[in-house]
């Protein structure tokens, strides 16, 4: 009897130790990022770093605007492509499709989530970039190599399909059948029920799915880096090359040791990513948790 209790206590202690040490590691990561970014913020004004558009570490100017704009461009393009497609497809899967189709499509979408970023990048280089350079660009009368923010956006859109679909489907499934029946019995067509009842009711959940998609797109590194040109400029159109924040870190880390403030600048980039994505994720998780609590 006693031994069982001792064992129980031992397990409890060691498990809680694991939990608390992992919580401490998280805190340490954040502290490390902040400590390493401080030299840059001390040397230059924070507002200036974020709005300055010249990136020239050798001359000591660290303008993050091109990278922030690059990230925003690819993220927005991916959302423009992915959000309508995902909403339509999830509505179809929940409201129109039969069980057989649904249980076939959802696992396939999950496979999409399992494909590593580098393979998306390879696909982007093999297919999206030539397509844009040889067909879409000339169609709009633009001379382009195809390595553009547009290519980054397309690749990202496919990458965020699975997370958006799986959450949107879950959210749509929580809409009460009575609501739909009420609308249908008033003579609304199915599509009218979708647009005027279901989508309105599901709005917060759909928003949470989109926000999770944004944070996924924001942090994606290698797939985007491979296709979007990596020129530190502020993109002005779909067919300009861009240089997102994660790509900046990936391309330059490890070779910046001798230039003053360079590593601090890159850590600042990592901190920016961490804070923005943490914020987005937190927001969507809180919305989803609330919805889940309401549903159960």
């Amino acid at each position: 009897m006693n031994w069982r209790l001792i064992k129980d206590k031992l397990v409890e202690r060691s498990f809680s130790l694991l939990l608390f040490s992992s919580l401490i590691v998280i805190a340490l990561i954040l502290t490390g990022l902040i400590v390493k970014s401080v030299p840059l913020v001390q040397a230059e004004h924070l507002g200036k770093i974020l709005t300055e558009s010249v990136w020239s570490p050798l001359k000591g100017s660290f303008g993050f605007l091109p990278f922030i704009m690059g990230t925003i461009w690819v993220t927005l393009i991916s959302l423009i492509i992915a959000v309508p497609l995902c909403v339509l497809a999830s509505v179809y899967l929940v409201e129109y499709a039969g069980d057989a189709l649904r249980s076939m499509v959802l696992p396939l979408v999950n496979v999409l989530a399992a494909i590593p970023p580098v393979l998306y990048g390879v696909w982007g280089v093999l297919f999206v970039v030539p397509l844009l350079g040889q067909f879409v660009g000339p169609l709009f009368g633009v001379e382009t190599t195809g390595y553009t923010v547009f290519a980054g956006g397309v690749v990202l859109a496919v990458m965020i399909f699975p997370i958006m679909i799986s959450i949107m489907v879950e959210v749509l499934q929580t809409i009460p059948q009575e609501l739909k029946n009420a609308s249908l019995s008033l003579g609304a067509t199915k599509w009218e029920t979708v647009t005027k009842v279901i989508l309105i009711k599901a709005k917060p959940g759909l928003l949470a799915a989109v926000v999770l998609g944004i944070s996924r797109a924001f942090g994606e590194t290698v797939a985007v880096l491979m296709v979007c040109g990596n020129i530190p400029q502020i993109p002005k159109s779909f067919f300009d090359a861009g240089y997102p924040l994660p790509a900046l870190i990936a391309n330059n880390f490890g070779e910046m040791m001798s230039i003053p403030l360079y590593d601090s600048a890159l850590m600042f980039a990592a901190l920016l990513l961490f804070v923005i994505i943490f914020g987005f994720n937190l927001l969507s998780r809180i919305i989803l948790n609330k919805l889940e609590a309401k549903a159960s």
Partner: protein
């Protein structure tokens, strides 16, 4: 009457749009795998997977990427094992020991949820500066630490989802029979056993495919990985490096390497699926 016709027409158009959207999304999977298969298959030889790079490999001469395949397998296996050893106890602790609905439980779960989405480049950057600070050079060990940090939230969250499926009655019965919390936890573990393998495979897939995390921490080497403190090649990085080469032969090998990685991932996915369907049956 024409109004009704218009509305029904709209219904039809909407339905077609939705079907097209669904086809686009599902089709993109086949399209990606198809593109890689089409481009990679002609370059895929036995030599690719059985030999290490020889002199002049990166200008198109003989050799293979065995070093990268083994490096990735080592890295992913060890990190997944570590992440499982750390992650499973954490979710057991949160679900069995900590009082349901307490601040600690909600806070930790939310935190792991949020961490799930932190991109690997951030982990990589932090691990890299830590390694510079401690004087460790890029090595297999550095990669393992980074990837373990990356996969812990995945394991914790997946196991947590599984533990939620354990009926509350079952928990209460075990307690009422006089079981300690640890004994109850063991019952929980038995209940979700097939699911644990799913979680492990999921983490393994993530670990083997990650690039941004290993880019800065693991380095690259043409030798087979022997020691944990030496740099090692990894499959995603091998793809990445070879693809940036201007020589067509080397690019072709990048496609073939991508195909190899695709195979590994598909095997993992199929195993996961089989296990998941077993879990379904198991649930009665």
């Amino acid at each position: 009457m024409s109004n009704v016709k218009k509305r029904l027409f709209k219904e039809k158009v909407a339905k077609v749009c939705m079907q097209l959207a669904g086809i686009t999304i599902t089709g993109s999977l086949f399209f990606i795998v198809g593109t890689i298969l089409y481009k990679g298959a002609p370059y895929l030889t036995w030599e690719m997977i059985s030999e290490t790079p020889k002199g002049g490999f990166y200008i198109g001469k003989d050799g293979g990427i065995l070093n990268a395949i083994l490096g990735s397998l080592y890295l992913a296996t060890v990190s997944t094992a570590l992440a499982t050893a750390i992650g499973v106890p954490i979710s057991i602790y949160l679900n069995v020991y900590v009082k349901a609905g307490s601040f600690l439980e909600r806070f930790s779960k939310l935190l792991f949820d949020v961490l799930f989405g932190i991109p690997s480049i951030v982990y990589g950057a932090i691990a890299f500066s830590l390694m510079v600070w401690m004087g460790i050079r890029a090595s297999l060990l550095g990669g393992i630490i980074t990837i373990t940090l990356l996969t812990i939230p995945i394991v914790v969250r997946t196991i947590d989802e599984l533990l939620k499926t354990v009926p509350v009655d079952l928990k209460n019965i075990t307690f009422s029979l006089g079981a300690t919390q640890w004994e109850t936890a063991k019952m929980f573990l038995r209940y979700i056993k097939p699911g644990i393998f799913t979680a492990i495979l999921l983490a393994f897939g993530r670990a083997i495919g990650d690039v941004a995390g290993v880019l800065l921490t693991t380095g690259f080497s043409d030798n087979l990985p022997k020691y944990i403190d030496e740099p090692s090649a990894t499959l995603p990085l091998a793809i990445f490096f070879q693809l940036s080469s201007p020589i067509p032969e080397v690019q072709g090998r990048a496609y073939a390497s991508a195909l190899i990685l695709t195979f590994i991932i598909l095997i993992i996915v199929i195993c996961t699926h089989l296990l998941a369907s077993r879990q379904q049956k198991h649930k009665i």
